[in-house]
Amino acid sequence: MGQDKLFPAQNAELPGAFENITLKENHAVEILAIAVFFLLVTPLLSVHRVTDFMIFCIFAMSFDMLYGYMGRLSFGQMLYLGTGAYGCGLFIKYINGNPLLAIFAGVAFAGLLAMLLGLIIVRTTGACFALINLAFNHIGFFLVLSPLRSITRGEDGFGVSASQIGSLNFGSRPIMYGAVFLSLLLVFYFLRRLTSAPYGIMIRSIKEDETRVRFLGYNTFLYKWLTFALAGTIAGLAGALTALNYNYVNPNAMDVHSNVGVVFACLIGGAGNLYGAILGGVIYMLISNFLAIYIYRWEMFLGFSLLIIVFRFRMGVWGYIQRFWVHKLIPRFTKKEAI
């Protein structure tokens, strides 16, 4: 074949510089950094609040896979969070009180729904993609609100009280905190592995030029669908944890308007980066938790900051930290070494 003639020497010398510059990601250090960060902020805020923050960060990461990495802006990611919450809550209410099984049920529900709807949704792009998601989210919201009222108790929602497994009581704050903390680290690790693998390059390529990827011999539909289903599944995990954390589920878990929050979080943190999603998630939660104490209509502040981000700071907070790191700090260190 032509290939063998073209690239003959398997052990032809390769430029060594390439080996040196490319730092391999060290996932253990990254996970440790995130763990330390959340453990440090816990005493400053409160266990319950940080649990809430971390759940939102999981949700923000799921959204970032879709928007930041694959370039598909969705206004309906809350549908999967809500499905996860209702899946988990209804499982506990009607089938079994085991919280671990309930989390699994919530995740499975959301994942299956995302797989099913993904078959239709990922065929679209751009505004159409955003709006078709919004439409499905609306449908979901009204389904739980009205036609399924007999099961979901409509607007009132229902209480979720998980049973205790051994000494594992999800009703207690520290245990819930631990479970969410572990989930966050697991999700981060899983997504970090995915996004630094060739699959990550694939979805970033789809963001930039999907047609080109098709002409590299890949069925892009398959990968878009997979990413959509993955994002839905992880949003479902966030939903299931929300249900357990608040001990009740109501249609707010699927509220269409809450989509703004996650879009905002991704933009402010820096889309296309898992750190950006986590940082953005924390910033958004800080604003919505604390600004609301001082300013009655705090959403207005969100609107203004969104305008400023979109027009002036497209890279988001993490983007600027990264740029500072690459352009200012790394050259300074390497210069010192050279001397």
Binding site: L6, L14, A197, P198, I201, R214, F215, Y218
Partner: protein, 253 residues
């Protein structure tokens, strides 16, 4: 020599416009075919039909005796039909070597497991070496770490050809590989094409006839959607019909 690709009465209509009109066309193995013709004569449309960008209005295409008329572009790439684009199409937001990851793991398709595709780092030694080998061929190995958007247009063109080559094509379609390049860059690309023509079957669309005349084994001339002449390059250029559509009537008289 055997025919690897045969187009049989291939047509493409855009509304009332007939871009490609009942073209019968075949490509021989290990041959370099040049396609020339005035603007709007249907050269790129023909490429789009062969590579599967859009389906033909009528006619059929066979590749190694298998009909491929209606299969999607990615399956054609797997079968070995690879193309480049008239306007350079590389991933600008990524580094140069990242551009080659998807194509170089494709040709190793059978060796790359799903686990590797989804969970091992793209900076894996094997993947990296494959990328680097392809970069070396097009002379970009020193730019491996650079952001693609920082490359010159000529380097991007070389990168695009490198991506195409790393897919290990049985048939490589080059759509105006010299367009927009400086003279120095043109000779670089020509040298590369001369080097690879021994191993690959190439089809080149080009406006700069003088640059590719020494490269091609066979020249096809298109006008208004059909082939008006094909054969040995020198004979094709001497053909009065070709001269008329290319240089106009006045020069001939």
């Amino acid at each position: 020599m055997s025919e690897i690709l045969v187009a049989d009465r291939l047509s493409k209509h855009f509304g009332g416009l007939i871009a490609v009109n009942k073209v019968n066309f075949s490509i021989m193995a290990d041959e370099v075919t040049g396609i020339i013709g005035p603007n709007g004569s249907g050269k790129t449309t023909l490429f789009n039909l062969i590579s599967g960008f859009f389906p033909p209005t009528e006619g059929r295409i066979t590749f190694f005796d298998n009909e491929i008329t209606h299969i999607p572009p990615y399956e054609r790439v797997i079968k070995g039909i690879v193309r480049t684009f008239q306007l350079v199409s590389v991933f600008n937001s990524m580094t140069v070597w990242e551009n080659l990851v998807l194509s170089s793991i494709r040709f190793k398709e059978k060796h790359v497991s799903l686990r590797k595709f989804f969970f091992s780092s793209a900076k894996d030694k094997e993947i990296k070496e494959n990328c680097l080998r392809a970069l070396k061929l097009v002379g970009l190995q020193s730019n491996a770490q650079a952001l693609t958007s920082e490359l010159s247009y000529g380097s991007k063109r070389m990168l695009e050809i490198g991506i195409a080559l790393s897919l290990n094509p049985k048939l490589l379609l080059l759509d105006e590989p010299l367009a927009g390049l400086s003279d120095g860059e043109i000779s670089e690309v020509i040298d590369l094409l001369k080097q690879i023509k021994k191993n690959f079957t190439l089809v080149i669309i080009e406006h700069k006839i003088s640059k590719i005349i020494n490269l091609v084994d066979r020249l096809c001339v298109m006008n208004e959607g059909s082939f008006i002449c094909e054969g040995n390059p020198d004979d094709a250029l001497c053909n009065p019909v070709v001269r008329e559509c290319y240089w106009g009537k006045r020069e001939i008289s």
